[in-house]
């Protein structure tokens, strides 16, 4: 097997092509910067205002979650992984519980699968709303007075958090998924609340598009940070980043989990691969998620919401030796969970738990994309990748 090197420039090796006498300036960006979306550091080598080389440094939020999961029981892991992707916690707990269900061979009732799908789609809207608000704030005061879009998006996001508070009792870290189903059933009157909220947000999304149809916003995003389809596939980018580059790939349609095989999920793609394409893909995904959630919430079948008794003691789980990989489509892409069962206390906790975060792969595109752009574009590109450092560093 021969390893072919692609004919594009390697961002780590090709700095020597520049003159050593050139007056390069080193600019340290982060780890504490309002636009880095967490604690993330990029060292940029500037030739004038143009970035010549960019070296990202991660690990400022490394919390050892995978190691921590090895000594916790299966029921205790769910609230821990909530904190990984703290913008979309519903997907974290669903991913880890789907992996445990595959490992233990637990059946999930159909009602629980409906609830998981509905809360996932609503969470996707909330995550994209937060992304849109912070992205518009990163682009600065150019768009209608700075923080207007941020304030609007958080106004609508709070309504979604109210929905989840009604369902689970928690505003932020829900701990509602469990091995074999869900903990909280849909309360009375929740479906009407979902309809009212999502219908309201669907109107507001039109308003966001109207205010962001702005020449300055277009100038800051169009043609900025182009990721080609080949580069996206090579780096393992998934989710809206991959779809914005023109690759038609969505795990909800291509590898359906829950009840997505019965649904007709429209995969939103765009060509161009720049920041504007990523923005358009996410806004369309918001509308699609609203449509799916509103269609499902009236047709939830009756039945139990959990296939097993609530697990309190470790001996109640029967885990065979084996390994599973389960992936699902989060707002940021493919969130994979790889679990090896077995070990000394096989019925209590996994032997090894590996999380494949989409944000880490998204950040790996930075050294390829940033050279050639100005410093102000670096903020726009980093914002458009939508990285969550709790997930990338784990």
């Amino acid at each position: 097997m021969t390893l072919e090197r692609p004919d594009r420039a390697d961002p780590y090796l090709d700095l020597d092509e520049y003159e050593p006498e050139a007056d390069l300036m080193v600019l340290n960006f982060g780890p504490q910067h309002p636009s880095t979306h967490g604690v993330f550091r990029v060292v940029m080598y500037l030739d004038g205002e143009t970035i010549v080389k960019a070296v990202p440094y991660a690990g400022y939020l490394h919390r050892g979650v995978e190691k921590l999961c090895e000594k916790l029981t299966y029921a205790q892991i769910t609230p821990i992984v909530d904190k990984n992707d703290y913008v979309a916690p519903m997907f974290n707990e669903q991913a880890v519980n789907m992996a445990f269900e595959a490992l233990t061979g637990t059946e999930v009732p159909i009602r629980a699968q409906y609830i998981r799908t509905i809360v996932g789609e609503i969470q996707r809207v909330a995550s994209h709303l937060l992304w849109l608000g912070t992205f518009a704030m990163d682009l600065g005061g150019a768009i209608g007075g700075g923080t207007s879009v941020f304030m609007w998006c958080f106004r609508e996001r709070e309504m979604i958090l109210d929905l989840f508070e009604h369902l689970t009792g928690c505003r932020f870290h829900y701990n509602t998924h469990t091995l074999g189903g869900n903990r909280h059933d849909i309360p009375a009157g929740w479906a009407e609340k979902v309809h009212a909220t999502l219908g309201h947000i669907a109107q507001r999304v039109d308003e966001y598009e109207a205010i962001l149809d702005h020449p300055i916003f277009k100038a800051r995003t169009e043609g900025v940070g182009v990721i080609s389809a080949q580069l996206a596939l090579d780096l393992g980018l998934t989710g809206p980043l991959l779809r914005a580059s023109g690759v038609d790939h969505d795990l909800r349609r291509d590898a359906p989990y829950n009840i997505y095989d019965q649904l007709d999920v429209q995969v939103m793609t765009d060509t161009g691969g720049d920041c504007a394409a990523r923005y358009r893909v996410r806004v369309r995904e918001m509308r699609e998620s609203i449509r799916i959630a509103r269609a499902l919430v009236d047709n939830v079948p009756p039945g139990p919401i959990c296939g097993t008794k609530p697990i309190k003691l470790p001996v109640q789980t029967r885990v065979k030796d084996g390994q599973v990989y389960v992936a699902l489509e989060t707002p940021r892409g493919e969130l994979g969970t790889y679990v090896i069962g077995g070990g000394d206390n096989r019925n209590a906790s996994p032997y090894r738990l590996k999380i494949r975060p989409p944000s880490l792969h998204a950040l790996s595109a930075l050294p390829y994309v940033l050279p050639g752009h100005g410093v102000s574009d670096a903020v726009a590109i980093l914002g458009s990748l939508d990285p969550i450092m709790g997930e990338a560093d784990r």
Partner: protein, 239 residues
């Protein structure tokens, strides 16, 4: 041996000035009150937002809770800020940066630890890469518990900080801030299975219960596991 100066007159040029200008003492205290009022109501926040609590911090600054109406404007630079809100887990790699940013803030300055990760490290406190609480690095004035705290709780914490600032500026005694106790593991009444101090034999009451429940186990097993003294005492009591 110190000289007793209690009966000696204390002379200072300002005293003569104040004696000549009645009302100057009133002016100085009034200026102090004005300063106090200004500092209390313009606490600019430097968000040291690392993880989940940062999102709730943003929600607190956004439209529903709108913390700005208390004068707490969020600034992105430490050099223009009065309060550092540490929101989120602080790792070993991040702690020197937090200390450096804290040193860059001008006096007077305050620190708010938001969330259980910043207070004690929470369930990450035993992890190799997480420091157990931000107060091991910088002094903390207000602790806001929660994982993460609601925006309303953050607002309550900022109101508590305003009260504290007012007390301090007025020269009153400020009660020292005590870090809330970390949750301790409650020792179970019956030892856990892995606990080496757990009794090997079942207790007297458990043996009695086993008899009354009419378990399928042979009775001699219960007899064998019952301590001798307890079994004798039982028979005597029954007779």
């Amino acid at each position: 041996m110190a000289v007793d100066e209690s009966d000696l007159p204390f002379e200072h040029p300002l005293y003569d000035l104040m004696a000549k200008m009645p009302g100057l003492d009133l002016a100085t205290t009034s200026v102090d009150k004005l300063l106090n009022w200004g500092v209390r109501n313009s606490l600019w926040i430097f968000p040291m937002a690392t993880s989940c609590c940062g999102i709730e911090f943003m929600a607190a600054a956004a439209s529903r809770v709108d913390m700005d109406r208390m004068g707490t404007i969020v600034r992105g630079t430490p050099r223009q800020s009065d309060v550092m809100v540490v929101a989120g887990t602080i790792t070993v790699k991040m702690a020197p940066r937090v200390k450096r940013l804290w040193d860059q803030m001008p006096e007077p300055k305050w620190c708010v630890a938001m969330g259980s990760c910043a207070i004690s490290g929470d369930f990450y406190r035993d992890i190799y890469s997480v420091i157990p609480g931000i107060d091991t690095v910088i002094p903390v004035d207000v602790y806001i518990p929660g994982c993460p705290p609601n925006p309303e709780e953050l607002m309550g914490g900022m109101l508590a900080l305003q009260e504290k600032v007012a007390l301090k500026r007025a020269g009153l005694r400020v009660p020292p801030e005590v870090r809330p106790e970390t949750a301790k593991m409650i020792k179970p009444r019956v030892g856990r299975a892995e606990d080496p101090t757990r009794e090997k034999l079942i207790g007297h009451h458990q043996a009695l219960q086993a008899r009354t429940l009419d378990l399928t186990e042979p009775a001699d097993l219960v007899e064998a596991m019952t301590p001798k003294a307890a079994a004798d005492g039982d028979q005597e009591g029954g007779a």
